[in-house]
């Protein structure tokens, strides 16, 4: 077991944390709702696909042979990179809005 932090150290940290997080969360709710972009869809539907014969659309089950496929996406951008990210400990990212 490691040594617990003292009451004084905990209180100082908590006091400092409150000033770090100055914006009261409750006040953000209305604002969040206003600028909220819904990132996830409802996945349960009672729709059917758009047909069986128009194989050119992406909504058709292509039965592609994935085992022999090569990924062709943004992962190609990260090949042979060695530079450090430089991201800070608390770096935070918002999701792309729909």
């Amino acid at each position: 077991m490691n040594k617990p932090m003292t009451a004084a150290a905990l209180a100082i940290a908590l006091g400092t944390a409150m000033t770090i997080a100055a914006t009261p969360v409750a006040a953000q709710t209305a604002d969040k709702e206003k600028c909220y972009g819904v990132a996830l869809k409802g996945k349960n539907d009672c729709k059917a696909g758009a047909g069986t014969s128009c194989a050119g659309t992406s909504k058709i089950d292509h039965q592609g042979n994935a085992w022999s496929m090569v990924p062709k996406g943004s992962c190609e951008q990260t090949a042979s990179k060695t530079s450090p990210t430089g991201k800070g400990q608390l770096a935070e990212f918002k999701e792309k809005k729909a």
């Binding site: 909220y36 996830l40 409802g42 539907d45 009672c46 729709k47 696909g49 758009a50 047909g51």
Partner: protein, 304 residues
């Protein structure tokens, strides 16, 4: 539920409870894409409908927004995963989830499908067809009895859109449905697009199909768009895509059905290629105008 004859509802009954049924107006399927716009613009819509399974999560944005929408509008909860037509027993855990959701949101209407979607523990996420004979009739009725018993309310059963039929079937679909309604006391959600799609796909007469249904028990109507394809012999094969405006032929069939059933809450369904909210609103207005023609005394802007 039909009122008990001879029993007058007290004023307290009326004042203290939410309406027990949806208004005979047009409603729209509630989509996350439109949550904000609906709350901000407060459109004049008769009701919203959700798919039950999308809200069977613990918390988060879906419940946040549904709670706010429900405070302002009548609500229909439409299940898409109970597998009432399944060969096996009903999923009791799923019934528990439904009971919890209905308890939380107190919807004016609850409906499910004449179809199956789960088998052997796997959920197949489609409304799969059921053969129509005495054996399946008994099983479906047993399942609906259990649903109504567990949820302590009448459910509406939706007629399916189908692409194949079964050699084992001995009953026509409307006959099968009529018998279910008679035996279980459930209501009927008449999906007019499904009637059209199935009748084209199986070469049946749409008017005769509708007249063969238990029309006194229709408590809600669905309208949607379909996609067109062909079967192996080049005959038309319509697909219930929910991805297009309501077809003219379906509007006409809707008017035909309303002549028989009278003003009925009508949902515009759109689940694929979801357009901007005003597009759906305009389609709902079209249904409102048709409904208004049947209710000449109704004061509503769509009736003007």
């Amino acid at each position: 539920m039909k009122a008990q004859p001879g029993r007058l509802r007290s004023i307290a009954d009326v004042a203290s409870t939410k309406p027990r049924s949806l208004p005979a107006r047009a409603g729209i399927g509630l989509k996350p894409e439109h949550f904000r716009e609906i709350l901000v613009t407060a459109p004049d819509i008769g009701f919203f409908e959700i798919h039950a399974e999308n809200y069977m999560v613990d918390g988060g944005p879906f419940h946040h927004f549904l709670t706010r929408v429900r405070e302002r509008y009548p609500l229909s909860i439409h299940g898409v995963g109970l597998s009432i037509g399944g060969e096996g027993p009903l999923d009791e855990r799923h019934l528990d989830r439904l009971a919890l959701l209905l308890d939380r949101y107190q919807p004016e209407s609850f409906s499910e499908h004449l179809a199956w979607s789960s088998h052997g523990g796997a959920f197949l996420n489609d409304l799969l067809p059921v053969p129509y004979h005495a054996g399946t009739l008994a099983l479906v009725c047993e399942h609906i009895d259990r649903v109504q018993d567990r949820l302590k309310r009448r459910m509406l059963l939706e007629n399916p859109a189908t692409y194949v039929e079964f050699a084992a079937s001995t009953l026509a679909e409307p006959e099968f449905i009529s018998e279910i309604v008679k035996r279980t006391g459930c209501g009927l959600l008449l999906d007019v697009n499904n009637v059209y799609v199935s009748c084209v796909n199986h070469h049946r007469n749409t008017h005769a199909y509708i007249r063969a249904l238990p029309l006194d028990d229709v408590a809600q109507i669905h309208l949607a768009g379909f996609a067109q394809d062909e079967d192996a012999d080049g005959a038309p094969l319509l697909i219930d895509s929910h991805g297009a405006p309501v077809a003219q032929a379906v509007w006409e069939l809707y008017c035909y059905a309303l002549d028989w059933v009278g003003p009925t809450p009508t949902l515009l369904e759109r689940d694929n290629d979801i357009p901007a909210f005003p597009v759906l609103f305009a389609e709902a207005q079209q249904a409102e105008r048709i409904l208004c023609r049947l209710q000449p005394n109704r004061a509503h802007e769509a009736c003007a």
